[in-house]
Subunit: 114 residues, 2 copies
Amino acid sequence: MKKTDAVAALAALAQDNRLDVFRLLVQAGPEGMSAGAVADALDLAPNTLTFHFDRLRTAGLVTVRRDGRSMIYAAQFEQMNALLGFLTENCCSGAPCVPSAACKPARKRAKILT
Amino acid sequence: MKKTDAVAALAALAQDNRLDVFRLLVQAGPEGMSAGAVADALDLAPNTLTFHFDRLRTAGLVTVRRDGRSMIYAAQFEQMNALLGFLTENCCSGAPCVPSAACKPARKRAKILT
DNA sequence: ACGATATTTCGACAAATGTTGAAATATGAA
DNA sequence: TTCATATTTCAACATTTGTCGAAATATCGT
């Protein structure tokens, strides 16, 4: 990951509501979550939410797809991993102290428990 | 680490020059680096640099001490580790996928090789 | 086609951000 | 004390950011 991308990703996560959105999407897993569901969960105005989704999407941390009249947003785990990789590399003076700081979606317990 | 602190740390790192400053301080190790040395290395105006140091310091990512007429800034590895911990936790839906994403200063090769 | 639901677009706005130049402060050397 | 060095403080400024309300767009059900 390039420095530019890291700055973009960091900036995308460096905001209260946006960090909440991303965390929620991460918990939702790869299937994602509708914009409305996120709006309900976090009590955010739909247009405000669109603004934040755009930021996250531009930073590559989120993807969208349409499902009927809903827009389904999903966390991009790879990008988040890339960011963690960048941070750990740089945090350890180029000599990574953590072999693989991989981030996978939680084992889909949602499928089973819900 | 609390969400508030994470947002602060992310915001502190989410800026080109500031990320450069922090990376430089990380490479410098726990002994740190004078403000002037950082200014020279990154070609930043001293007052601009003070502004960025303040941000990093407020976020807990950096500490200062005076040495003669110089101010020595040093990276706070613990805080960076805390941030990485927060991110990996949340990135993995509360079930951390990486046991310990620890970040230590690079083994002080500077002492030997320079 | 019509109405309802879901989301985005647009225009506005206060607040925060990053940079600059000039002046102030602090330390050390002569 | 006086001068030079190192850094901070202050006041500006253009730009970006986050939020809001109102209107537009898209899809679905009838």
